[in-house]
């Protein structure tokens, strides 16, 4: 019986695992084909998974292709990520009703059925762990995020291939998830899945399945899958990017990239760690009912830095610089970790194909002389 955390087993297909989760009352969110891309939506069975598809990614380029029809997870990350569920793009915070002597305030909490996210990749688990630090910063904890995170189970899929945009190996976030999951699946070259149990909750899910123990050779075959995926990666992040960006705010490269950047905010929406938000006042026509909604925002919008008198960051240069220095440098000051997990989404989904590794590399290659 799979009762041991850290134990490994074998499974022929993901079907029984999805069924077991649903039988045990978990809502299962997983990869699906939607509008020509892999999206994360509720799935009812393994039949909903986009089996046989693979992807082709480059700067400003994403295409799904027919792959080996027997392979379940040969695509990697698409335009969406799990923050769409954990940190929804629109979220009601509270509401207020006009009363005789002013107004009353009512708190609001969204329903969150216990939810399994199925098919999270190593970089995505790293991104969730980054957002965990954002939404519980020591002084304050976001109540909605905390609740959703607590009522959640993670089924990881260990990537068997990398897209050209992937650079998780260079960020030390993948391609193999070593922790942070309840169950992890590795699709083996020979077919079938190596199943790793990562937690007691994972063990409880696996408990009802007919699982054979994995041999040492099969476990090694699972590791080999990740080594192969890692070896496919060509993009890398400079190791000293944190300090090099902090010391090069006046580098001429910022002007060069600002010429190409459309300031469209796609990178921030596709990024699994970007957390900036606005709070909107939503009123009805009577004027007696008001709601406060938190919505995703982006440091690429002009209004983002508005204070009376005008925006602080008026130029595209300053907004791109803010995004990239925050992601790769000042994030360390704030949260003790990089804000980049190497998923490559900002590269693929940039309409003009700006490549964060190339931009960081260009500045690291020719840093400005430092004032002493």
């Amino acid at each position: 019986m799979p009762d041991a955390k850290g134990a490994s087993f074998l499974l022929d297909s993901p079907g029984p695992l999805v069924d077991a989760l649903r039988r045990q009352g978990w809502r299962v969110i997983g990869p699906k084909l939607g509008q020509g891309a892999i999206v994360y939506e509720e799935i009812e069975s393994a039949a909903d998974l986009p089996r046989g598809l693979t992807d082709e990614q480059e700067g400003g380029h994403y295409r799904l292709r027919e792959g080996d029809p027997d392979r379940w997870f040969d695509y990697v990350v698409g335009p969406q990520n799990w923050k769409k569920w954990l940190f929804p793009a629109r979220q009601k915070l509270w509401s207020a009703e006009r009363s005789k002597d002013g107004f009353s305030v009512e708190s609001h909490e969204d329903e969150w059925p216990k939810t399994a996210i199925f098919g999270a990749r190593a970089c995505e688990i790293a991104a969730i762990e980054v957002q965990d630090r954002v939404f519980d910063n020591g002084d304050f904890a976001d109540s909605g995020y905390t609740k959703r995170r607590a009522g959640m189970l993670i089924v990881a899929v260990q990537c068997a291939r990398s897209a050209a945009t992937c650079f998780c190996a260079s960020m030390n976030t993948g391609p193999r998830a070593e922790a942070g999951f309840d169950v992890a699946l590795t699709e083996l070259e020979t077919g079938g899945f190596l199943v790793e149990c990562g937690s007691d909750a994972g063990a409880a899910v696996l408990d009802g399945l007919e699982l054979a123990d994995a041999s040492a050779a099969q476990q090694q075959a699972g590791e080999a899958v990740s080594h192969k995926a890692a070896a496919e990666q060509t993009r890398t992040m400079p190791a000293n990017v944190e300090s090099v960006l902090r010391d090069n705010l006046d580098h001429p490269r910022w002007e060069e990239v600002a010429e190409r950047c459309l300031s469209c905010a796609n990178c921030t929406l596709a990024c699994p760690t970007c957390f900036c938000s606005d709070v909107e006042e939503v009123n009805d026509l009577s004027g007696d009912h008001a709601e406060r909604w938190r919505v995703w925002d982006s440091c690429f919008s002009l209004d983002f830095s508005y204070i009376h008198g005008g925006a602080v960051r008026r130029s595209t240069l300053s907004r791109y610089r803010q995004w990239m220095t925050h992601k790769l440098s000042s994030w360390h000051d704030q949260f003790g970790t990089s804000g980049c997990v190497g998923c490559g989404r900002c590269i693929a989904w940039c309409p003009v194909g700006i490549d964060i590794t190339e931009e960081a590399g260009a500045i690291a290659a020719e840093p400005l002389a430092q004032e002493v």
Partner: protein, 281 residues
């Protein structure tokens, strides 16, 4: 798990406007009392998020005396929809308040020193709680200088109160305006002129300075202070950026690695010196 006002930092508490009055053509002050829970304890330099029903929420510094319990005072300039709604509240109206947030002027830790406050325009409002503290505990400090500048005599905030401070024998109060008007008999010019003069008679090494105003005014004031021998780790400034949450979640108020809402708004100058002279950070 239910979320109560005590645990959800985004949920405001309701306050009643006890009294409100106009300070300037576009600036009002309001005195608030809590309708639920305890009255708010705060430190000088901290701010609240004030909510106007049906309009929105905005960050406003606390401008009252921290020693006066049960009275929360805010001074607000009408510069937009939300601040406009807040600046035009009437006695008895209700607003929402979240806070207090942010770092404080560490004035209580500077006993024995000559305290210099430099304020520009509405920057006097966030400094006033710290000024009250020094006025109330004047014998603990070696000296008190307030240098205050505004655009015109019409824009001088708390003018009568400032005259009251000036009438004390244990204070040095300098007021200047950028543009004079008929009837103005005071000084004309930017704050650094009276600041330089006030500093000239003092030993910079004994000065602790607190500066608040437009960024350009703070930059030049800090230059004057440093030129007079005031150590950079004895100068504090208060920064302003867009804020939507005040608890470090919304990302709007970032200044390099700092969130102005949590790490600021009050910073020791050496902490922000590297970025403060840079445009569009």
């Amino acid at each position: 798990m239910s979320v109560s006002a005590a645990t959800d930092p985004m949920l405001p508490r309701r306050y009643r406007v006890r009294k409100t009055w106009k300070e300037l053509a576009d600036v009002s002050t309001m005195e608030l009392e809590a309708l639920e829970g305890q009255s708010m304890a705060f430190q000088p330099g901290q701010f609240n998020m004030l909510y106007a029903f049906g309009v929105g929420e905005v960050a406003i510094s606390i401008s009252g005396d921290p020693a006066e319990e049960g009275k929360l005072v805010h001074t607000i300039r009408d510069v937009g929809a939300v601040s406009g709604a807040l600046a035009s509240v009437s006695d008895g109206d209700m607003i929402g308040v979240r806070g207090p947030f942010g770092s404080a002027w560490p004035v209580a830790e500077q006993t024995g020193r000559h305290i210099v406050f430099v304020a520009g325009g509405l920057g006097l409002a966030p400094l006033r709680p710290a000024i009250y503290h020094v006025l109330n505990n004047r014998d603990q400090y070696a000296g008190l200088t307030v240098v205050y500048g505004s655009r015109s005599p019409h824009d001088l905030l708390y003018a009568e109160e400032v005259r009251g401070w000036k009438s004390r024998f244990d204070t040095e109060i300098e007021v200047t305006v950028d543009h004079a008007e008929p009837g103005w008999t005071g000084q004309v010019g930017v704050v650094t002129v009276p600041l330089d003069r006030a500093l000239a008679g003092n030993n910079g090494a004994e000065v602790s300075a607190f500066v608040c105003g437009p960024e350009i005014m703070m930059r030049f004031s800090v230059m004057s202070l440093k030129a007079a021998g005031v150590s950079e780790d004895k100068i504090w400034i208060s920064m302003e950026r867009n804020m939507k949450c005040a608890i470090g979640f919304c990302g709007h108020c970032q200044f390099g690695g700092d969130f102005i809402c949590r790490d600021g708004p009050v910073f020791r100058h050496d902490h922000v010196a590297k970025l403060i002279n840079r445009k569009e950070v």
